[in-house]
Symmetry: D2
Subunit: 405 residues, 4 copies
Amino acid sequence: MVMNYTGKRVKKLKKLLEKKWFKGDDRRMPSISEIKKALQELKIETPSWGYGNSGTRFKVFTIPGAARDVYERIADAGTVHRFTGVCPTVAIHIPWDKVDDYKALQDYAGENGVAIGAVNPNLFQDEDYRLGSITNSDPAIRRKAVAAIMECVEIGKKIASHSLSLWFADGTNYPGQGHIRQRKEWLEEALAGVYRAMPKDMQMLIEYKTFEPAFYHTDIPDWGTAFLIASKLGPNARVLVDTGHHHPGTNIQQIVAILLQEGRLGGFHFNDRKYADDDLIAGSIDPYQLFLIFNEIVDAGDLSAGIAYMVDQSHGIEPKIPAMIRTVMNIQTAYAKALLVDREALSQAQAEGDVIAANSILQDAFETDVRKMLAEIREEMGVPADPLQAYLKSGHQQKIEAERV
Amino acid sequence: MVMNYTGKRVKKLKKLLEKKWFKGDDRRMPSISEIKKALQELKIETPSWGYGNSGTRFKVFTIPGAARDVYERIADAGTVHRFTGVCPTVAIHIPWDKVDDYKALQDYAGENGVAIGAVNPNLFQDEDYRLGSITNSDPAIRRKAVAAIMECVEIGKKIASHSLSLWFADGTNYPGQGHIRQRKEWLEEALAGVYRAMPKDMQMLIEYKTFEPAFYHTDIPDWGTAFLIASKLGPNARVLVDTGHHHPGTNIQQIVAILLQEGRLGGFHFNDRKYADDDLIAGSIDPYQLFLIFNEIVDAGDLSAGIAYMVDQSHGIEPKIPAMIRTVMNIQTAYAKALLVDREALSQAQAEGDVIAANSILQDAFETDVRKMLAEIREEMGVPADPLQAYLKSGHQQKIEAERV
Amino acid sequence: MVMNYTGKRVKKLKKLLEKKWFKGDDRRMPSISEIKKALQELKIETPSWGYGNSGTRFKVFTIPGAARDVYERIADAGTVHRFTGVCPTVAIHIPWDKVDDYKALQDYAGENGVAIGAVNPNLFQDEDYRLGSITNSDPAIRRKAVAAIMECVEIGKKIASHSLSLWFADGTNYPGQGHIRQRKEWLEEALAGVYRAMPKDMQMLIEYKTFEPAFYHTDIPDWGTAFLIASKLGPNARVLVDTGHHHPGTNIQQIVAILLQEGRLGGFHFNDRKYADDDLIAGSIDPYQLFLIFNEIVDAGDLSAGIAYMVDQSHGIEPKIPAMIRTVMNIQTAYAKALLVDREALSQAQAEGDVIAANSILQDAFETDVRKMLAEIREEMGVPADPLQAYLKSGHQQKIEAERV
Amino acid sequence: MVMNYTGKRVKKLKKLLEKKWFKGDDRRMPSISEIKKALQELKIETPSWGYGNSGTRFKVFTIPGAARDVYERIADAGTVHRFTGVCPTVAIHIPWDKVDDYKALQDYAGENGVAIGAVNPNLFQDEDYRLGSITNSDPAIRRKAVAAIMECVEIGKKIASHSLSLWFADGTNYPGQGHIRQRKEWLEEALAGVYRAMPKDMQMLIEYKTFEPAFYHTDIPDWGTAFLIASKLGPNARVLVDTGHHHPGTNIQQIVAILLQEGRLGGFHFNDRKYADDDLIAGSIDPYQLFLIFNEIVDAGDLSAGIAYMVDQSHGIEPKIPAMIRTVMNIQTAYAKALLVDREALSQAQAEGDVIAANSILQDAFETDVRKMLAEIREEMGVPADPLQAYLKSGHQQKIEAERV
């Protein structure tokens, strides 16, 4: 969870990385109470923009009850937390969520039961950014873009946010349009400046994306580039994995494992997709992949401490709050199943080269029905056993649909 | 070219299909004058929507000089024709290009040197269509969508357009959301009604698309589905190949060859892409593929008669008219190179199983610099040898940038 | 199951297709006893070649206990049936499984508790086939290839097999190497001859494949082409869906739905993959997709009668019989979950446009743990509750590893 | 070219990297004599294995005249050099090219006009390596694999090879089969040992590959992982880019640019593909991509010094030597066109944000017919103007086809 992040994580991670990753006793099966504890401690950050209308280039549909301003977006994040108990923070996006008084916004969030988490500068909404923001060949536009990020650092300081989450739409549409190496240099220069300005307890999350909106080359197209840049910046720069930002067939769980091992996994933007960056509900298309990602997280033990679990989805045709609650439930399901993996047996099967057995151990965990366990855990936490049904029956959706016209 | 299409094509195609596709003498190398004639006869239809602002889900940038209404869009199509000499028609999109008096619109087009070509109903821009248009589970919405297509049939009659070009955004985002077979039945029912209402000299072009804006399933996802539906409808229904609407790696030229062989290739929506449906300038990412597509068209000889060559692109960051002129030039380049293939030698190499020789014959044609030949042909047609440079020097772009604010 | 197929299916299908596909009462939830019955009736055919050593172009590893000849391969199929109770047939591949006396082979299969199912001609193993078999430009090689298929028709008659299963490695590696339309004509000509020679109660299954071993174009690359050819041949020609033979991201369940609706789904070659045609254990990479395929099958009701459920995998690093048993179990799991879908509720959610509810209904069925139910069903059938564990404990693997050196 | 590599490159690169990558005067258009000089200096290494029979998992066809042993393979490399003048080295693969006396082999190569270039250990051909070589869970197998690499280091010393080229087939086929992080640790441990054993003037080239023969996860799946490992090892470890080892749609030229910028591009394995790692003739499927790769190389100026240009292809259906000569010609064509790019104009267009102009500059260079220029250059070098035709007319192919039966 984002809020837990402090500069301390760096030291702890360093220690862990100096030790061998593998300790026999880490592999034992957790007890039921440990599993429950882990599930109760998994915190998921939802994004403010996910509560407003969004869509495709063809049409942004008006979804009944969608939030119309930053206050309604934060209120909705609060509602999701109230029904799930595991979404105590909400990410904001500047300038969409720009206000005069961030202290007041923070207070408003608090009144709605949540805190503000990661701060995300949007650098794609101005005419200036047509050919790039921090990689634009015009130095004035690059300066403007860096200033916009610096503003987010300042906002973060004001609201005690520990995460600066950076995604850049920057890239080119045609061969020759931009100079790839030159743009990378501008990118590194810009981020170096921002990094220096960050307080010690802030981490920079660097997101990568294969394509879209740039169609020929994207300045940070893959984890390798994000990792390379983060490594140059320093220990507080990490890679943000958006599950939809890969080529079809990419083994995302392996990327997660490698970044964990290198101490550079900053967090996730969860969503699912069948083709490109479809931004569908996490686990709705390939639930096994989501499980396998959590399998790496669980397996990594303490190396996974401090990861930011965030949602980044665009509910273009479905109601916003129900879609977000369903997302949270799917993530919990994947995590619960990953916690059930018999790691001792798995370790043994791997050591013995028993392919079928090793694979079956994962499948067994995945095939386990965890809905009852999750219901029980939720009730222990004081939230509804089935958050989605509870929400739908609460009358809240009807209320906001009536209010927000 | 669309305008040439009449009911006669069907009979002619039938005859051709009854004969063997292959006649020795069809394979001879065309003479220079034949090549020139072929290039002068290649007509490319540009889309009205391509002259206005468009973009991605992240941002629609304001491109200086972009057309602001249907009249400016048609004027721009006229400008492209004036500089290239091969774009005598412009496709319209309803309701974007809706006017009260289509006769007057036709006259206006005529004054700008062009005619109106294919009529395209847009069925994705209304709130009603959130869960589909002609495949919506609500019969009232299906009826509304069919009525919108029928309106386009009527418009086509008024302006003597012979092409009804159909692309549907219909599909679902999640497993279970829709009933795949039921939706296909609704689709076929709707199109059967439209087909019956079409005049005899109108053809229905059915477009397919892998994904977007639907992210889990699209009702017409591939050429197989479009072909299947067209076959059920009758001889005036054909498949429209948009070069960007395939999975990465798809052999599009093979699809073109098969549809030509079956007499079901209605036409093209040209564009290029690196990842998904990026709608970039045709030939800008993979010029060899564009050449290989034209190679199949040339090879098919008379089977290729009556194909509609249309452009469907979204110039999100570049000036509209220059981008369209460049597109037309790239298409001509690919066609010119395909005309240069030594088909007799190729046929012999294929018969002898000489893999390297056969492949080299295509490569030789592709490596030939055809820019001078094209310049000559253009001058013979009374248009500038280099349409792009001529346009840029003409002052027209500056003029419209000043006028259209 | 293949053995059930007779000419009668055609008539029955025709009737079904004449009726509307949708009847309200088909949508009710099946009873537990019906679910059990359905699961006991699902028959899966295993391939003889799956029991011998196979691998990649880099290495064919020697798997301990792998079958060394056709008799051992059939015996292994018998073993899989003995432990699972649902694999009563084995597909053979000619010339790999060529024998002098097919009657004797049939008897031998019978002694091992199985019957011979589909007959598959292999047309890629001879030097002659370097540039194609039935699409080779050399007519003598085309004739040879057709004769090899005819031989399989004859074998099928001798052993009362009702399925001729056709996959062609034919295609080209380079642009220009072959003439796409000409090759398609040769293909159609060859299959027409075979079709005419088939007895009335034999069905021709036509498989398609995107690529490999041909790397530029494959003569039957997609379901559209296979469907087109089958349609021309007649009612006994159908499409065979190999789950690994698609571009990444393809919605295979939609193809299944369309083919069912058109009465042209002949059967499956099950396997799984992450990248290309990896031939991994079905359900091992994307179990949700396998479930969604079965969801279409169950939903289609009587339209699904007579489908051939076949396995086509290459266990390159894991023991053969355990891998096959695990495969069968995974297929049963997917089918069991698909049977649990509440189709009445789903239908209602779809009609109401309730996206989240509709999707949740599928997810609920998928998240249900069906292992106990399957164990019970197996015991009712007189086979072990856990066939894999039972096999591993039976000592059979050790026995064949010792015998087959 | 590999042979030029010495420890000096490291120092030179370091200097270059310390300077800005960009110097105005580097951008000027080269003179014709400079272009000719550059083309004459481009050296391409061919692989010994490319001259013997190889194929797919379905069939290894016997290609007439294919080399049968290491001596014939080296003789064939010599033949390719004799006709092209730019292939002075041949890569060897151990154990395929294992001999008792490497000094004698070196002499034999010299007699055939070539030298031995990179040494490649094959670590996939033994039964031991079924579950991995240097990432096998069995320490004895890991040691064996490391010993095999060490042997190659020793061979390299004996024959004064400066390149140790490493590709690992290692990976897993199923989720759970292996422990991703543990395997990465073993990998790093193994390579660290090898790196320490390398002489100062040897470079380690680390190749990555998305998939195949491992189908679920490959231990070095992408450039990011190869880069990460190389960075840990030291300045003599670099990344090897095989153009076929990426997901479809990957912007390979961007990877090349980034690695050049970071001083970590070791070299290439050239080939082309449409789907997966098809190992087709370089430039036969996407010649524009090959040009764009060389565009980055040319643009990088001195940063590109010392790159190893190597071919890695599998000519499964075409004659070996002609296929290799055609490959070399295609690579020269791409390089020649890249040298023609007007970098000053391009730089200006990029600075001005003129998308169409910048793209057109690349297209213009690509559309230029360079066949005559290349013919002239070849004649100046004393080799045939058209090496392929000259070879085919030389009678050499007939000779080896007769001799090698």
